[in-house]
């Protein structure tokens, strides 16, 4: 016998056991849908374009070029990097862009799916699994660029590179969790999506992406305070070999990230019916 679904005004937190059970069963049940959405999003994104998949890494490539030119012409000067500056900045930029895609993904997908969110009660977890996979897909195209750069500059990879995907996963999770937390509110207030663009731009300048990690001064404190610093440093360290990075901060950041993902997910689930009620009909 099928179970009754009961809707009341009570907070779902009043019955946490059932809520958690529902959350995880929905998570597993949304896998099929996530795959369909992933295929749809990738096709929809690249089909109506001539350059197609090239768009996965063109932004990273051109930003890197800009900074390389600026660095070479001494318009802006950065400290010496371990590997040639162009290689450093392209490598970091690719990782950074992956992070930006992750943070924008949930807000974007919620905005794009407004119509179906308003009309159909489906497993919304699928939207985020699809975004998570899409970010990975897009990264896998970017790898082609990275390989080309590493070969051209003859940069050897350290064996620990096989662990780099784990660190990258944490970084993507971090982005998704922030986006996931913001997404119901972004339905209510446009400020979220407007602000997010400015915020990520600002974040770029306190993250060691276009410059190596500073070692002293107030700026260094600010950069160290930024959790993304530790994630990006870990990825670079694992790929290029030991350069004196302390992995403790990475483990702490990872632990906090994974716990927060759950909290963000919970918030999203509880908030979504109210957001839908207010902005759609």
């Amino acid at each position: 016998m099928e179970q009754d679904i009961v809707y009341t005004s009570k907070s779902e937190l009043k019955n946490p056991l059932r809520l958690f059970k529902n959350m995880f069963s929905d998570l597993f049940a949304s896998w099929d849908l996530a795959k369909s959405l992933l295929v749809r999003d990738i096709n929809a994104k690249y089909r109506q374009s001539v350059l197609g998949y090239l768009w996965a890494f063109l932004p990273a490539l051109f930003t890197s070029l800009t900074f390389t030119l600026a660095n070479n012409s001494k318009t802006i000067t950065f400290e010496e990097t371990d590997i040639p500056y162009p290689a450093f900045v392209i490598f970091s930029m690719v990782i950074w862009q992956t992070f930006v895609e992750a943070i924008n993904g949930p807000v974007q997908t919620i905005a794009d799916s407004k119509v179906i969110l308003a009309k159909i009660n489906f497993k919304k977890e699928a939207l985020f699994i699809a975004k998570f996979l899409e970010v990975w897909f897009s990264f896998s195209i970017k790898i082609v660029l990275l390989i080309a750069v590493f070969v051209y500059f003859k940069i050897p990879l350290h064996w620990t590179v096989i662990f780099a995907p784990f660190a990258l996963s944490v970084l993507i999770f971090f982005g998704i969790l922030v986006g996931l937390f913001l997404s119901p509110f972004s339905l209510l207030y446009k400020d979220i999506s407007y602000g997010l663009a400015i915020f990520t731009n600002f974040l770029l300048f306190i993250t060691p992406v276009i410059f190596p990690r500073p070692t002293e001064g107030t700026f260094a404190t600010l950069v160290n305070f930024n959790p993304i610093t530790h994630l990006i440093e870990a990825i670079r360290e694992l790929t290029l070999g030991p350069g004196g990075f302390d992995f403790t901060s990475f483990y702490i950041t990872s632990g906090i990230t994974m716990c927060s993902v759950f909290i963000a997910w919970l918030t999203f689930r509880l908030a979504m019916p109210f957001a839908i009620e207010r902005v759609t009909s």
Partner: protein, 409 residues
């Protein structure tokens, strides 16, 4: 199958405030604090007020009521999209919403791709989709268009595809929100056939429609909602009768006088011009209770103007309040090259209507006052009046034609 008990839902008229309430509601939900649901906050109103009913398996229910009666809100709560403010809704079985046909179709993808995505969103597994795929395609009559992008589809084709995707999800409960109005007659007939087939297989329906015909053809029972209240629940034919009578009776209420007075708006809610009063008068300026075909009357409309406005037009659309008649008359001052420059204060429009052409019956007029047809300052949604045949000259006519008889030598 569906059990609704003392259901309440409130909505907010004001966007800014509504968003703020949304945030507070979210906060309370997350912290597990009871929301103060029983009380209305500022600008709120009951979209659904103490609704209770239950629907058994295999029952088909029509949901009727004028716009804003709460029909769609009720469907949205039943499908679990939004939460009740108080009361309990119990649902058993898979619910498929047939609310927006083809919602979520992505225009660049082909019909084939969209079928897979759309049905997955509706909760169908890939295996089931593959099993039903051919049926969906043949029902939607896509033919060679299956591998064409959906943006090149006609609206009828897209609607067919949307309907097919939703219907082949094998739902236990189907929620249909006024979607059968799209598409051509052939498609509609096909949808009704399919619905009848599902009904024979014990699928439960809730159908929202304004058309009494479609409710009577597939529903055994009906629910009549008005302004958030459940007015009547019973056999479809009875409810439809009641509903149509009520619509007609509303017109009869005002038989006493054609004068209608509007409460004055506060300055912040006013757009600049507000209707104050409307009435039909005779040439002596005396308010008429009813109009008579062939009589000469004046429509007097009193407005309050808050600031000087130029090029103001007045538009009046009059329709007969009956189910067969679709005819209407539009009187638009802009069309007649009358645009007025108004100065602040009370302004009275006097529209002379010599030899009324209307046949006897109940009429409803919609009015608005606008600037060059673009900006509407105020509107009257329904102004009802009665036309009678005072001189018994309309027995064999559908319109009055003014005439004079004489002999010329």
């Amino acid at each position: 199958m569906i059990d609704v008990n003392n259901l309440n839902k409130k909505f907010c008229e004001d966007l800014k405030r509504s968003l703020l309430y949304g945030i507070t509601d979210i906060g309370r939900e997350i912290l597990g604090i009871e929301r103060k649901s029983a009380r209305l906050r500022k600008s709120e109103f009951w979209a659904l007020d103490n609704i209770s009913f239950s629907i058994k398996k295999g029952q088909s229910v029509g949901l009727i009521g004028s716009n804003g009666a709460g029909k769609s809100t009720l469907l949205r709560i039943i499908s679990g999209l939004i939460k009740p403010d108080s009361g309990v809704v119990k649902v058993r079985g898979r619910v498929a919403p047939l609310i927006a046909l083809g919602a979520g179709f992505s225009p660049i993808l082909t019909g084939r791709e969209n079928i897979f995505v759309n049905m997955a969103i509706l909760g169908v597994t890939k295996k089931e989709i593959k099993k039903n795929f051919d049926e969906v395609v043949s029902f939607a009559e896509l033919g060679h268009a299956l591998d064409m992008p959906v943006q090149s589809y006609s609206s009828g084709m897209a609607a067919r595809l949307g309907f097919a995707c939703a219907i082949f999800t094998n739902p236990d409960i189907l929620l249909i929100d006024e979607v059968l109005a799209v598409g051509d007659v052939k498609f509609r007939a096909k949808c009704y056939r399919k619905l009848a087939e599902l009904k024979a297989h014990d699928t439960t329906f809730i159908l929202v429609s304004h058309s009494s015909q479609s409710i009577l053809s597939i529903c055994d029972t009906a629910i009549y909602l008005s302004k958030g209240h459940l007015i009547k629940y019973g056999k479809a034919a009875e409810i439809m009768n009641y509903y149509e009578n009520e619509l007609l009776n509303k017109g009869k209420d005002i038989e006493v006088s054609t004068r209608m007075i509007f409460s004055e708006k506060s300055a912040e809610r006013s757009e600049g011009i507000d209707f104050l009063e409307i009435q039909f008068c005779n040439s002596e300026g005396i308010t008429l209770d009813t109009l008579a075909s062939g009589e000469s009357v004046f429509l007097i409309i009193k407005c309050k103007v808050h600031f000087p406005i130029d090029n103001v037009g007045l538009k009046i659309i009059i329709r007969e309040l009956s189910f067969e008649s679709m005819s209407s008359i539009t009187l638009d001052s802009s069309d007649d090259n009358f645009e007025f420059n108004l100065t602040p204060g009370i302004v009275t429009f006097k529209i002379s209507l010599p030899h009324l052409s209307f046949k006897p019956g109940l009429y409803v007029a919609k009015l608005n006052i606008n600037q060059s047809d673009l900006h509407v300052y105020d509107a009257i949604e329904s102004y009802k009046f009665n036309v009678i045949d005072k001189h018994l000259i309309m027995l064999h006519s559908t319109h009055f034609q003014q005439r004079d008889w004489e002999i010329i030598r």
